[in-house]
């Protein structure tokens, strides 16, 4: 018996149709537009409501939920905090509060880093960003304080056009993401295949698969879509050809058909796995330092499917072998920036005071 098919994505949730994207983007636009600082403010309730609604829509329709509950909960939490803090940064009148909300953004983003198996980056970002850069910003804000409300804080330059520019950008990116990572159709087909695998007789299998021409047509369409990933598409087509050979009106061999279906399912899973990612060219010599080629404990898993667990060690090794030049240049850049900052502000002595 083949392994039961566990799709870590519930097939029922539609992952971001175009209407959901448009609606949430427009609501977000309206909300941010209303919240941007003006001398005569709109009532903040409207803006807050609009942005909250947009966030909710995005959370429901744009995010795929997987089987791992803890990860999803943490993901939702950190993302929500990051986005809300980001909105506060953009719309708050008081620059100190805005800087502090930026600190919150950084912290949430670090949480997301941690979820993505990048503990070193999390720590580095907190130390450098939240620890040094934001504190420096706060110092400068304090140094450049003006009493009372100032022009700089209370007014916006072209709020409507700016909002439109940003949110149109966002809409385009979201649309492209949806188009790239959408596996709805493939999921349907794989579910159908799985259902067919659970029955025994060839006739029942054929009945479960449905209309032959429609089934093959849809599958071939899926294969054609994945032109970027040549190998999965090829194997998918090969499996389809096999199944086509086995699918006969009379005297269909149950075992051979089952085997063909299993091969089809494997090829489909592989294609779904590789969805949206570009394969490396064959024969490209890659450095081994940045890749974890140690085979994991599970021999079924394809090679290089996970990050190394000793993140810092591997990151250090990769930095000082593959990216050595960049590291050195980065150090030089820091030095030059320090000297530059001192040079720019060193005219304090002669300048106006």
């Amino acid at each position: 018996m083949p392994r039961p098919l566990v799709l870590d994505v519930p097939v029922s949730a539609p992952t971001g149709s175009a209407w959901a994207i448009a609606l949430s983007v427009i609501l977000g636009l309206v909300g941010v537009y209303l919240l941007l600082p003006r001398p005569q403010r709109y009532p903040p309730l409207w803006g807050v409501a609009a942005t909250a609604l947009a966030l909710l829509l995005a959370g429901v329709f744009l995010i795929r939920s997987s089987g791992a509950a803890v990860e999803m909960v943490l993901f939702y939490l950190f993302s929500a905090i990051a986005i809300i803090a980001g909105g506060l940064l953009v719309t708050h009148r008081n620059p100190v509060k805005a800087a502090l909300s930026f600190a919150l953004v950084v912290l949430s983003t670090c949480g997301l880093f941690l979820l993505q198996a990048a503990p070193f980056l999390m720590a580095a970002t907190i130390i450098i960003y939240a620890g040094a850069i934001i504190v420096t910003f706060l110092f400068v804000i304090m140094l450049a304080r003006q009493s009372g409300i100032s022009d700089a804080d209370a007014r916006s330059r072209e709020p409507l056009l700016a909002s439109i520019a940003g949110f149109v950008l966002l809409g385009a990116i979201l649309f492209v993401l949806q188009a790239t990572y959408n596996t709805n159709d493939l999921d349907d087909l794989l579910a159908v295949t799985d259902r067919a695998l659970h029955v025994s007789s060839p006739e029942a299998m054929q009945r479960a698969l449905g209309n032959k021409r429609e089934f093959f047509g849809r599958f071939r369409l899926e294969a054609g879509r994945r032109t970027a990933a040549a190998e999965p598409a090829r194997s998918l087509r090969a499996a389809l050809t096999d199944l086509d050979a086995e699918w006969k009106e009379q005297n269909a061999n149950g075992d051979r058909m089952r085997q063909a279906l299993v091969r089809l399912r494997e090829a489909g899973l592989e294609a779904r796995q590789r969805q949206g990612s570009l394969p490396l060219p064959v024969g490209l010599p890659l450095s081994t330092y940045s890749q974890n080629i140690v085979p994991g404990p599970n021999p079924d898993q394809p090679r290089g499917a996970s990050l190394p667990s000793e993140n810092v060690a591997f990151l250090g090794r990769s930095l000082f072998t593959d990216y050595l030049l960049a590291v050195e240049l980065g150090g030089t850049l820091l030095l030059v920036a320090t000297i530059g900052a001192i040079a720019i502000s060193a005219r304090r002595a002669e300048g106006l005071r």
Partner: protein, 657 residues
């Protein structure tokens, strides 16, 4: 013996070379000697013209072709020159008078600014005129026709800084241009509408056309063509209604008036109609029109000349009147039967050309004498301001008297014989069997009346100028002196011609008519006897006119003013040229000026305005887009982001990822 025919082309070439030489070298190099190329060229042409005369008399007509102007298929037009009797007589007249006038001009235009320009233009004129009479085809004729028109414009407007002179030049050019339109249309009609045996003629040279009209298979609108050709003559020869330019043309220097507007250019129309005799003699309706216009013009001009105070104006109207006589003669060249030749035709044409010949002499003489008077009077020509010059300017007086007597038709002088020939031709046309004979009888009476008027006004001018007490205007200076010999000698030569050339050449010897009858298409005329009745009648009329003038201006000067005040209406009518100029101005000139003003306003406001508006569009667009550059860098970044947004929308829409 010397044969001048191979050198035919030199006759126009000499004056042309002289003109070019004077134009380029005159102002800088030759200066006071700028007259030499012109005089030399004119004299050489004159000698060659005499040579051609002799050659024609010996061997007949010659046609020489020199150059192909254009050729397209069967159509051919070339620079072809023809030498026949008519041409030879015209050449001799033109070159002889031109040489004398050129010599006269040396004295008259002395110390004038633009001396070289004057002689260059005179030589150019001589080139055009000789080319005109030598041309073998109508297109070449038309080209030289325009050439003489141009020279007339240049010479009338010689003192172009004077507004009246510039206006007169413009008027002359435009009015003759009106006639030239008809002329050109007539040429085109001949070109395309004349058919020989069903084929269009497509030829313009005299030989082909005149041969064709005589043949049986010919069909074409001859009357229309003749009338259109006559339009050109009306313009160039200052007949009614296009005569208005000639009196104003007196703004030019007096030698110009003598040469162009008396002796040679205005006779181009007469020459052209005479040349086209084979066409005209087959169109009696056109002949009638020609004769009527000629007679009417003669009478009209004579009536106007009665009251003019400007001596040159009197002579100008006299020219118009005498040209009318010539056309009257040409119009009488009718045939009783259209398809049979008739000696009347040759006789009438000979009369016209003979009158042209003698008129050239005495009219040039009169103008040059008037120029001499002007020269002495400090450029004053108003007869009311001077008088009694007979002892102050003796040579001028006697030469003027001979010219005046010839013009008046004093018996036995040249004018008498030529005018008499015309009147007998008209009388002949009024006889039985000729078409429209009644009209010609009326025209005969008109001619006689005009002869009397001619005598009267000519001697009125003479008596007003030379008799009575000596009066000189202040502009004349202290001592009124006779003109220098360089001016007097041509006067004397012309005077001799005016007196005796007529009697020598024609009435008893018939050298003139016999020679002219050698022209192709002219039938030889038989000896005819003198029309004694007409001769005596015209003598009486001429003497009566002279006597009346003597009575009114010498004997009883006060009578004239009483007569003038007795009929003020008629007097004003005559003095103001029958208000024709005012009529033309009102009906023709002002509307055209209005149209021109409208055109100018349209061009200035609408067309220029439109162009300016178009020019404002980029400026306006720039002003519209200017506020984008407001200096705020954040705004620039926003603009970039918006552009990116638009680009992304377009991309995603297009490819639908």
């Amino acid at each position: 013996m010397f044969d001048a025919i191979p050198y035919l082309w030199l006759i126009p070439a000499f004056p042309l070379a002289a003109s070019v030489l004077t134009a380029f070298l005159g102002p800088r190099l030759l200066r006071k000697h700028s007259h030499w190329p012109c005089i030399v060229g004119a004299v050489l042409s004159c000698i060659l013209a005499f040579g051609v005369l002799v050659a024609i008399g010996r061997q007949g007509t010659e046609i020489r072709e020199y150059y192909t102007w254009f050729q397209a298929g069967d159509v051919y037009v070339g620079f072809t020159l023809r030498a026949d009797a008519l041409t030879a007589i015209m050449l001799v007249t033109v070159t002889f008078i031109s040489s004398l006038i050129a010599i006269y001009s040396v004295g008259y235009m002395h110390a004038e600014e633009g001396y070289a320009r004057f002689f260059a233009e005179i030589a150019l004129f001589l080139f055009s005129m000789t080319g005109l009479v030598l041309a073998e085809n109508l297109l070449l004729l038309y080209a030289f026709w325009e050439g003489v028109g141009l020279c007339s414009y240049l010479l009338i407007g010689f003192w172009f800084t004077k507004p009246s002179a510039a206006e007169a030049a413009r008027k002359a050019f435009l009015v003759t241009r009106l006639g030239d339109i008809g002329f050109l249309i007539g040429i085109l009609v001949i070109w395309s509408q004349f058919h020989l045996n069903g084929q269009p003629l497509y030829a313009l040279d005299y030989k082909t056309v005149f041969d064709a009209v005589g043949q049986a298979g010919f069909e074409g609108p001859i009357t229309a063509a003749c009338l259109l050709l006559f339009c050109g003559a009306v313009g160039k020869s200052a007949q009614f209604p296009l005569h208005v330019w000639l009196p104003d043309a007196m703004e030019g220097p007096t030698p110009v008036s003598a040469l162009i507007h008396a002796a040679t250019m205005v006779t181009a129309g007469v020459y052209m109609v005479a040349r086209c005799t084979p066409l005209f003699e087959r169109a009696p309706d056109a002949q009638l029109v020609v004769g009527c216009i000629g007679g009417f013009t003669a009478l009209l001009a004579a009536l106007i000349a009665l009251t003019q105070n400007d001596l040159k104006r009197v002579l100008a109207y006299s020219t118009i009147s005498q040209l009318g006589y010539m056309f009257l003669a040409l119009g009488s060249a009718t045939r009783p039967e259209l398809d049979r030749a008739n000696p009347l035709v040759t006789m009438a044409v000979v009369a016209a050309i003979f009158h042209l010949f003698t008129h050239a002499f005495f009219k040039a003489l009169l103008f040059l004498a008037a120029g001499s008077v002007m020269h002495a009077m400090g450029n004053i020509i108003d007869m009311r301001r001077f008088g009694g010059l007979r002892y102050a300017l003796p040579w001028t007086r006697w030469t003027f008297l001979s010219g005046a007597a010839a013009l008046a038709g004093f018996p036995l002088l040249s004018g008498f014989w030529s005018k008499d020939e015309i009147l007998s031709a008209v009388a002949f046309a009024g006889e039985e069997g000729h078409p429209y004979r009644a009209a010609y009888v009326v025209l005969l009476i008109v001619g006689l009346v005009t002869a009397g008027l001619t005598a009267f006004y000519t001697f009125r001018a003479y008596f007003l100028t030379f008799s009575g007490e000596l009066r000189t205007p202040p502009e004349a200076g202290h001592h009124v002196h006779e003109s220098p010999p360089v001016m007097v000698v041509p006067l004397v030569i012309l005077a001799i011609g005016a007196l005796v050339i007529g009697i020598i050449v024609e009435p008893f010897t018939h050298w003139f008519s016999g020679f002219l009858a050698l022209t192709p298409y002219f039938t030889p005329i038989h000896e005819h006897e003198f029309n004694w009745l007409l001769m005596v009648g015209s003598s009486i009329i001429a003497l009566g006119g002279i006597g009346l003038a003597w009575f009114l201006y010498v004997f009883q000067p006060g009578v004239v003013t009483r007569l003038a005040s007795a009929v003020p209406g008629l007097y004003q009518l005559s003095l103001n040229k029958f208000y024709l100029d005012e009529l033309y101005s009102f009906f023709l000139v002002q509307p055209v000026l209005g149209l021109a003003a409208f055109g100018r306003a349209f061009d200035l406001y609408v067309v220029d305005g439109l162009v300016d508006l178009l020019g404002q569009v980029p400026r306006f667009l720039g002003l519209m887009f200017r506020p984008i550059q407001n200096g705020l860098a954040q705004f620039y970044a926003l603009a970039m982001a918006l552009g990116l947004a638009v680009f992304l929308i377009a991309l995603v829409w297009r490819y639908g990822w």
